[in-house]
Amino acid sequence: MGSIATRRLAKELRELSLECPTGIKILSANDFHTWRLSIEVMGDSLYQGQVFALQFIFDAQYPIASPEVTFVSDEHYKAPIHPHVYSNGHICASILGTEWSPILSVAAVCVTMQSMLASCKKLERPPDNDRYVRHAPKSPKNTRFVYDDDTV
């Protein structure tokens, strides 16, 4: 792990341990490679009462390079049904791809995911879900998503 990556993540973890944004909790962060956080949408939304888990995988180039972020989809957690979230947990969000900036953080990504879910008007998968999931690379960072820039 890069020394800048380690220092940055140590700092982020320290801050998250002191105070997490509302609706966000650390599930596991035992090293500087993989973290899991639970996220819940606060207030009125289509996801009331549901808890999701986000997985972050960091490489040595973090935060210059974006982390690999997916919704966990296993026996405990399911990926939310959302037009930008594939059933394998891959997320089509520009800040995780071309719009990543090294000043963004784990907390910032979690909060963005919360607001992405909060603004959802219809529970549906992306229209190309089945085909994408069948052929998707293991890491969504190897997919070049096309982002529409309509604001919700």
């Binding site: 792990m1 890069g2 020394s3 800048i4 380690t6 220092r7 940055r8 140590a10 700092k11 982020e12 973890l13 320290r14 341990s17 650390i26 962060a29 035992n30 500087f32 490679h33 995988i57 490489d59 040595a60 180039q61 935060p63 210059i64 390079a65 037009p83 520009s94 800040i95 071309t98 719009e99 900036s101 090294p102 000043i103 963004l104 910032a108 909060v111 963005t112 607001s115 992405m116 992306p126 229209p127 190309d128 085909r131 994408y132 069948r134 052929h135 690379p137 890491s139 960072k141 190897n142 997919t143 070049r144 998503f145 096309v146 982002y147 529409d148 820039d149 309509d150 604001t151 919700v152």
Partner: protein, 354 residues
């Protein structure tokens, strides 16, 4: 509970309890690496980063990481005043931290005093049984006053809780710390440090060294390197360029390219330092960087993207069609205070990165 990695404490020194001081402290840290600025530099917009952090970011994307205004490596400028402020701040910081801690200790002492007065009063007023009868408490307080004695410079007193002799000045912190002698040592150290800090702020030792220390190079004597046009370079050109810099020439083309690229980033950022490090030190950093990148790659095996694309080309073409015709989309807004003004230029195709 979350298990924090063991080295988390040493990676970040303690912060201020005071919010304003914490903000001042954080304003002197780079928004990318979150450490104090190392050769503070800014581009046209004025947002400041470490030389190496900004260079690396611009090598990926030519925009300011904060406001996303276009930014180029060539337009990077040194923020000299900020660096001077940072040096002064780092000198004052320890003093402020110690003072803050002493201030907090004083406040807790006051609290403690009024609390013990209250407890004596309530003990004497209460007729019923009490865990510590009034008479005993008062006796202990008296005994404490009597047993006060001089030992060296510090007045010693008997602790009413553990009956050990403790320096009177720290008795309340001693009790707060659960009568732990290790804790006592730390408190004593801190108060000594506060004294030393003040004398260093006003004394002659507060002056920053004007000459570079070991491992630093005389400023103004180093030259920056131009960036190679790596796409058109042949292996033998790369090898020659690496040799010129005294760097290893082993490995594949890609390894040599990224080695030289990173060297230019590290070296040019070193030249931007107020007190540049020696060539050997920067070489060591490059070596370390290469090791870290290699171990990170091993941890996460890359999908053979080209293969994947070949096999599923037609599927992906359909996918592109599909995605293009998709309308109800939102790109999640970055929660940065400065919203991206211009629309994102999406890549033309949905493809697999190589």
């Amino acid at each position: 509970m979350v298990d924090l990695p063991r080295n988390i404490q040493d990676t970040d020194p303690e912060d201020f309890a005071n919010e304003l001081l914490r903000k001042v402290d954080n304003s002197l840290k780079c928004p990318i690496c979150k450490a104090y600025f190392d050769a503070a530099m800014y581009s046209d917009c004025g947002h400041t980063f470490c030389a190496v952090c900004l260079r690396e970011s611009l090598s990926v994307k030519q925009e300011c990481p904060i406001c996303r205004k276009p930014a180029k490596e060539l337009s990077m400028k040194k923020n000299i005043m900020l660096e001077d402020t940072l040096i002064l701040w780092q000198q004052a910081r320890d003093t402020l931290l110690t003072l803050e801690r002493l201030e907090a200790a004083k406040a807790s002492k006051k609290r403690k005093r009024s609390a013990s007065i209250q407890s004596i009063e309530s003990d004497s007023n209460e007729a019923g049984p009490s865990s510590r009868p009034a008479s005993t408490t008062v006796k202990k307080m008296k005994k404490r006053a009597e047993s006060t004695q001089k030992t060296g410079d510090s007045t010693m007193t008997e602790c009413p809780m553990c009956q050990n002799l403790v320096v009177e000045a720290i008795i309340n912190q001693h009790i707060d710390g659960g009568c732990n002698p290790e804790n006592d040592k730390k408190i004593t150290r801190d108060s000594q440090r506060a004294k030393d800090q003040w004398s260093s702020v006003f004394g002659k030792s507060a002056k920053r060294k004007a000459t570079p220390v070991k491992g630093e190079t005389e400023p103004g004597t180093l030259e920056k390197l131009p960036r190679g046009s790596y796409d058109i370079l042949k292996d033998k050109d790369l090898r020659r360029m690496l040799k010129e810099e005294g760097l290893p020439t082993d490995g594949e083309t890609e390894a040599m390219k990224s080695r030289h690229k990173q060297w230019v980033i590290f070296w040019n950022s070193n030249v931007d330092r107020k007190f540049p490090k020696s060539r050997e030190t920067v070489k060591e950093e490059l070596k370390k960087w290469e090791r870290e990148m290699a171990s990170s790659r091993r941890k996460r095996p890359q999908v053979n993207a080209v293969e994947h694309l070949k096999h599923h080309k037609t599927d992906f073409d359909k996918l592109v069609q599909n995605v293009r015709s998709r309308k109800p989309k939102s790109s999640a807004a970055a929660p940065s205070p400065n919203e991206v003004a211009e629309p994102v230029a999406p890549p033309d195709v949905m493809s697999i990165d190589d």
